[in-house]
């Protein structure tokens, strides 16, 4: 084994190596751990770095797919019910509305209840006046409305809980910033995965009996590294924008064929307006554009007129990894939202599996099917337990929920408890809990990592102040002990800027100006020397803070 013989680098042994720290990969990790299996999960960046972090957190009732894809719709409904039962703390069962406005196809609206019935989705017709009574933000031009059991899910918390539970069950390990470079294949199986720690540059060799590719949009690349070409994905970029405050109480869907700006999803204390769909070839440098934001706002106004005056604080983009069936049209809107499990046996590998496609709502089912295959291959007879086993929470993994930190603060009233992030009211104790014990805490818990595990940087200042306060705290705690911490801060705010720039108008523009004055004029972060080891966040961030 080359890492050992070379005498450098780390070597890990595990039963199952899982590639990809999104909802699916962490779901597989927990599924297997519940069967008593030790796993090692790696991600080239961190948890939720792909589509699992770049989505609107909708727990689909299935209503969105009722008309076009009854199977996916029914799957969404069943999985939504399971998640509501096993992870209620991650879910806001806020309900949803489908509304048609003047000019929308009346026939599409009229057939909606029928499609829902076919998929088993509870759907009730209400009058436009009743809809406006439920959601005063709705347009006067609403002509048809139905209620559906839509809900929202905190995708960050659910992955954190998955990883945390797997750690508790079988001491399974998560390694962030671990990029797969190649597989060592021999005798029809993967013998080892050769990875690189993108922060230290060190080589990491992982020996596993089974390898699961749950790399989301990157699954096709990973499969190719194993010499498998059967996984074919369509990359569909979707952009969303986040409002400063929650707009509607429920999920509000436009009752028409899926299109831009047709869904407004509450995210605890904010709302997310989405989603665009654009087929892309390249997974690198995915970021929201002004044109996309304009389209979202223009379309969103038809349902919710106040969107015209709403302060949006950030835009973000994700890439939907959609399965490209042979002969299917290359249209992200029409591609299946279903998932596939590839066992790669026909491609000559006995210990490799790829799970691809699917949706956040159905990640558990994807993990179950993958877990069944992997367990069978390992000779493990334990059945899947994720359908009924509640996801445990914990001190270090409850800070991603919008509104939790302020409620926690208000209930405790710690007189000396300093709040580091004022927008989201994240106290020092939360940062300490994350640094000490959140998944990934065995390596350095940077500002970026803390932001993934909390609401830091997600409020109206978008990291202008909290980035500095949290970084200072990390230096105080000696988590940071070199200029690297400051560079991490710079990269963090530069990354935030990419999301803020496309929504920089009206009341949000002064915020951006203030951040620039603070970060560039006062601190000179844009002139920070760039001599450092390769950091994956550098691929996301520009060399310096861009000026508007």
């Amino acid at each position: 084994m080359d890492a050992q013989t070379a005498g450098h680098g780390q070597v890990f042994e595990t039963e199952v190596l899982i590639i990809g720290g999104g909802a699916t990969g962490t779901g597989v990790m927990r599924d297997l751990a519940l069967r008593g299996i030790h796993c090692l999960l790696i991600d080239r960046r961190d948890l939720n770095a792909g589509a699992s972090g770049g989505n609107h957190g909708l727990l689909h009732s299935g209503g969105r797919y009722a008309a076009a894809d009854a199977d996916t719709a029914a799957e969404c409904r069943r999985e939504g019910d399971i998640l509501k039962a096993v992870a209620p703390e991650c879910i806001d069962a806020c309900g949803g509305l489908f509304v048609a406005v003047e000019g929308d196809d009346p026939e599409f609206a009229a057939r909606f209840p029928e499609h829902c019935r076919a998929a088993g989705i509870e759907c009730k017709a209400i009058t436009p006046a009743e809809a406006r009574a439920l959601e005063p933000c709705l347009s006067e031009k609403v002509v048809a409305a139905y209620t559906v059991p839509d809900a929202t899910v905190d995708p960050f918390r659910i992955t954190l809980e998955n990883v945390n539970h797997a750690r508790e069950l079988t001491q399974s390990i998560f390694l962030s910033h671990t990029e797969l470079e190649r597989f060592v294949v021999a005798g029809g199986s993967i013998r080892s995965a050769i990875c690189r720690d993108s922060r230290s540059g060190e080589t990491i060799s992982i020996h596993a009996r089974q390898v699961v590719n749950a790399a989301g949009a990157w699954a096709m690349r990973v499969a190719r590294l194993a010499g498998c070409s059967g996984v074919k994905l369509l990359y569909s970029k979707g952009t969303l924008i986040i409002s400063n405050a929650r707009i509607g109480a429920r999920v509000i869907n436009r009752l028409r064929a899926p299109g831009d700006g047709d869904i407004l999803v509450p995210g605890g204390t904010v709302s997310l307006l989405g989603t665009t769909s654009q087929t892309v070839d390249n997974l690198d440098d995915i970021h929201p554009t002004v044109a996309e934001v304009d389209r979202l706002v223009a379309e969103g106004i038809a349902m919710v007129p106040e969107i015209a005056h709403t302060r949006f604080i950030r835009a973000f983009s994700g890439v939907r990894p959609l399965l490209l069936a042979a002969g299917a049209a290359a249209d992200g809107r029409k591609a299946s939202r279903g998932f596939s499990l590839f066992d790669h046996e026909s491609e000559g590998l006995a210990n490799f599996a790829t799970v691809a496609g699917g949706k956040l709502t159905t990640f558990r089912l994807m993990a179950e099917k993958t877990g069944d295959l992997v367990a069978r291959r390992l000779g493990n007879k334990q059945p899947c337990k994720t359908e009924t086993t509640p996801l445990p929470s914990g001190d270090a993994i409850r800070w991603t929920e919008p509104g939790f930190a302020p409620r926690y603060w208000a209930a405790r009233r710690e007189p000396g408890g300093l709040i580091l992030c004022e927008c989201e009211m994240v106290p020092t104790s939360a940062i300490d809990a994350i640094v000490d014990n959140a998944p990934g805490a065995q390596s350095q818990m940077s500002l970026n990592a803390i932001a993934v595990r909390s609401r830091v940087g997600k409020g109206s200042c978008q990291g202008a102040f909290c980035s500095l306060r949290v970084s200072s705290h990390l230096y105080d705690r000696q988590v940071y002990d070199s200029p690297e911490g400051l560079r991490n801060t710079r990269d963090f705010v530069a990354q935030r800027f990419k999301g803020v720039a496309p929504v920089a108008w009206g009341e949000h523009l002064p915020q951006l100006e203030l951040a620039e004055a603070l970060h560039c004029s006062l601190l000179g972060l844009d002139h920070l020397a760039d001599d450092r080891v390769v950091d994956d966040s550098a691929q996301q961030a520009p060399a310096g803070v861009q000026k508007p």
Binding site: N244, A245, C423, E507
Partner: protein, 429 residues
């Protein structure tokens, strides 16, 4: 405040209220989280709150916490937050709304009782002073001033004089507890030959109803006072050395859309005018000892009402009275001044420890000036700053403008020196 009660607290939707009550562009939505408000708010940290937190909690939908936090009674609604806010967001409006939603029996008793007394009294006195008591006290005190000698033998303090130019109001504290403190003001009016009158109705210069958050009560107070001015047909409603009584009428007329065809004037502006016109020839010749003075800008009069024009007048009068070399400003001051903690009903609310904690910032400011005296044309500032001095052992004194004006003019009577120290107790007698 902690009285057990069955009345449920009304929960306000602060985010919606902010959109309705605040002007476009200054809603809570516009908050930059910059913290200029909380950095300059003496109530920051009390009850774990500060203005930015109030805004953020509103945006996060924490309506129950905001509807029940006692912090709203420690915020004096001084509006310094609004003054420094780059987006002009006013937290005090929502604090007023929150106060109003508290069940009456849970509100600080002192503020509620003061408003109730005002509502019962045709004079609108928070001390419940009745019309006949006020009239009698004034008459007795007039007799006593006339007895001081020939200079004031014909001094008058008219009551209900129809058509007088100035309608002068009177803080209840003087007729109620220290009537001799009314005399210096009368002497000033006599000196400049002002055509003025008190009124037997609506005479009082305090309005705790605004501080209860009860807009209706605030409105009633203002209506009664406006009617009292109209009844006598006066041209100018001249507000005594008091901050909030000026603001409540000045702002109340606009807020409630009342018709008031008279000028709302501050006594300080008229002091300045009379000095400029040479009718009040004050000077600092008496201050041979180099006694140092600073001035407290009442938030209600300066920042919340007349702005830096009033601050200029205050300093003009103060410098003339004590001498440029003996005048030391606090920093910050004028419209950026810190509230002392006497406003908003805090003095009457019975929350002493919190009020002292709030006032510590003001105390430190005063101590930095090394002033021997604090001049302030506001009764709440006066009481609070005096109390802070005693509590923190400041050693300074607090004095009304009228005292120094009469001292400078050589007409301050022996029993009108309650607020002067031994250094000035005998000066000019």
């Amino acid at each position: 405040m902690s009285t057990a009660s069955q009345t449920p607290t009304r929960i306000i939707d602060f985010k919606t209220a902010a959109r309705e009550l605040l002007p476009p562009g200054a809603s809570y939505d516009a908050c930059l989280s910059c913290g200029l408000c909380s950095a300059g708010c003496p109530a920051s940290g009390l009850e774990g709150m500060d203005p930015r937190r109030f805004i953020r909690m509103a945006m996060l939908g924490m309506n129950e916490e905001l509807s029940t936090t006692a912090w709203v009674w420690t915020c004096t609604q001084c509006q310094r937050c609004k003054y420094v806010c780059p987006m002009s967001i006013d937290v005090s409006v929502l604090v007023g709304l929150a106060r109003g939603a508290w069940p009456t029996e849970k509100k600080p008793r002192g503020i509620v009782r003061s408003c109730e007394a005002q509502m019962r009294s045709p004079g609108t006195s928070a001390m419940g002073l009745q019309e006949e008591d006020f009239v009698e006290t004034v008459e007795e005190e007039v007799a006593s001033v006339r007895a001081q000698g020939e200079r004031f033998a014909r001094l008058e303090a008219p009551i209900d004089k129809q058509g007088a130019h100035f309608f002068v109001n009177q803080n209840s504290r003087e007729p109620g507890t220290e009537p001799e403190e009314m005399a210096p003001l009368w002497k000033i009016f006599d000196y400049v030959g002002a055509d003025w009158t008190y009124s037997s109705k609506g005479w009082a210069a305090e309005n705790f109803c605004m501080f209860t958050g009860d807009d209706e009560a605030w409105r009633k107070m203002v209506e009664q006072r406006v009617a009292a001015v109209k009844r006598l047909g006066c041209k100018v409603w001249l507000n005594t050395e008091c901050g909030h009584s000026f603001y409540t009428l000045w702002k109340g007329v606009e807020r409630f859309g009342l018709e008031a065809d008279f000028e709302a004037g501050s006594l300080v502006s008229y002091y300045a005018r009379w000095i400029r016109e040479g009718r009040l020839p004050v000077n600092a010749d008496w201050n041979t000892q180099g006694i140092k003075f600073t001035v407290q800008d009442p938030c209600q009069l300066v920042r919340k009402s007349l702005g830096d024009t009033m601050a200029d007048d205050l300093r003009f009068v103060a410098r003339r009275l004590v001498g440029d070399a003996n005048f030391v400003d606090m920093a910050p001051c004028r419209s950026a001044n810190y509230c002392c903690g006497g406003g908003g009903g805090f003095l009457q609310a019975g929350m002493k420890e919190l009020r002292w904690a709030y006032g510590k910032r003001k105390f430190d400011q005063i101590m930095t000036t090394q002033a021997d005296y604090v001049l302030t044309p506001c009764h709440n500032c006066h009481s609070q700053i005096e109390d802070l001095g005693q509590h923190f052992h400041g050693g300074y004194r607090v004095v009304h403008f009228w005292t120094l004006i009469c001292l400078s003019l050589g007409i301050l009577g022996e029993n009108e020196r309650k607020y002067l120290g031994p250094d000035l107790a005998r000066l000019g007698l």
